[in-house]
Subunit: 216 residues, 2 copies
DNA sequence: AATCTAGTGTCACACTATGACAAATGACAA
DNA sequence: TTGTCATTTGTCATAGTGTGACACTAGATT
């Protein structure tokens, strides 16, 4: 049945094993205190081989953030075209978070570990925010395509995306206390969405700006 | 007259010389193609000494972004307390940008070089965005203090800051074309501010949220 | 002038990351 | 099963960033 050969399965198991070993070591000893050599030793491979699976320590620590990004992109593509951009993005976020929450318990655990790690490691939080910024640009291009405008000259798609991503980021950042479970995290994101939605003028993202520069 | 000794003046000149040498080398050969050794050689010091002036290459390349941050923080402190948070932040940004534009021509040039460099170096853009995120947290604390709320539990200050900083970031990012002069940059930031201001419900940041979670 | 102190250079080292090449191992056909 | 091929892995070597230790120089202080 399984179309995947032994090789690919082995590769995937190695990836997971590396991520698990890395996350546990990072959380136990701290991110910068842990060397790639220790991680490689933990799964019995050479450091050189580790770099063939992951581009580096950072990639290893944040590999699960790209999963959220993939879910989000997929969810956005599923949103009906007539849905206003802000609502489409916010709903895509909701769907993506729900998807992650419904994956295997070990996977959810890995996400929570990743977030706990980020919370205590400024360098990693920085890299995660950098990734979010890159995602923002990609999402802006998607939103621009939805609306049929040019993302190069029109700042509006980027603005809409920035609003939603900012809310999500603020919601996911843990103020002082620890990340308990996925539900708590989703609740905070929802509350941030609500705050921003409340600040916005209804229908602002469907009609053109009130005082657009070139009406002539 | 000058209260500063020879030592401090020398130190400042060395800092500037290092930044200038670094920016020019980065722009000429690319950021990652340039080694700290080359920069150190250019100003006739040992690499070890360079690390006593700057924490690393990144610090060297982005040292001028902290200047904007300092101006901004200072400008925000100057805004009248009764000014609504969004307006206070946006105006502080305007003042800070004007301040930078009015500094010495060489300094303006350094800022533009820094931005050109960032535009062509993803890694640096990432670090810059990371710095912005840190600044966002600090600004949120300031805004929370202005309004007398707790930045730990209340997400609203963070949201306001995120809106303004997002607009500024989107405005400063150059879509494909090169950074010409300071005026062009300010104009794009203004246009992004206008877009976000247009999207917002007037007075949203002075009154409490319309449907705060617990009305029971 | 003698002394103190901050800054500097030299040497050494740990760690991340990458390239080159040989060895091992799964995939696949005869 | 066995031999061949492609992929993966380990070993060795190297570049580059970043730090610690320690002696030395030069400005600062009295």
């Amino acid at each position: 049945m399984s179309r995947t050969g032994l090789r690919e399965r082995k590769k995937l198991r190695m990836r997971q094993a590396l991520i698990d070993a890395a996350l546990d070591l990072f959380l136990a000893q701290g991110y910068e205190q842990t060397t790639v050599e220790q991680i490689a030793d933990a799964v019995e491979i050479s450091p050189r081989t580790l770099f063939r699976y992951f581009s580096g320590k950072e990639d290893l620590a944040l590999s699960h953030t790209s999963e959220l990004e993939e879910e989000l992109t997929a969810a956005l593509a599923e949103r009906p075209p007539q849905e206003p951009p802000f609502a489409a993005l916010a709903n895509a976020f909701r769907v993506a978070l729900r998807q992650l929450g419904q994956s295997s318990p070990e996977n959810v655990e890995r996400h929570l570990k990743t977030r706990r790690l980020m919370e205590t490691t400024p360098a990693l939080m920085g890299r995660a925010i950098t990734r979010m910024a890159r995602m923002e640009t990609r999402l802006a291009a998607l939103v621009a395509a939805r609306q049929g405008v040019d993302p190069g000259t029109d700042q509006r798609p980027h603005i809409v995306v920035a609003l939603v991503v900012s809310a999500a980021r603020i919601g996911m950042e843990c103020p002082s206390d620890e990340v308990g479970d996925m539900g708590e995290l989703v609740a905070r994101v929802e509350s941030a969405f609500a705050l921003i939605e409340d600040a916005l003028r209804p229908g602002w993202d469907v009609a053109p700006p009130r005082a657009a520069g070139a009406v002539s």
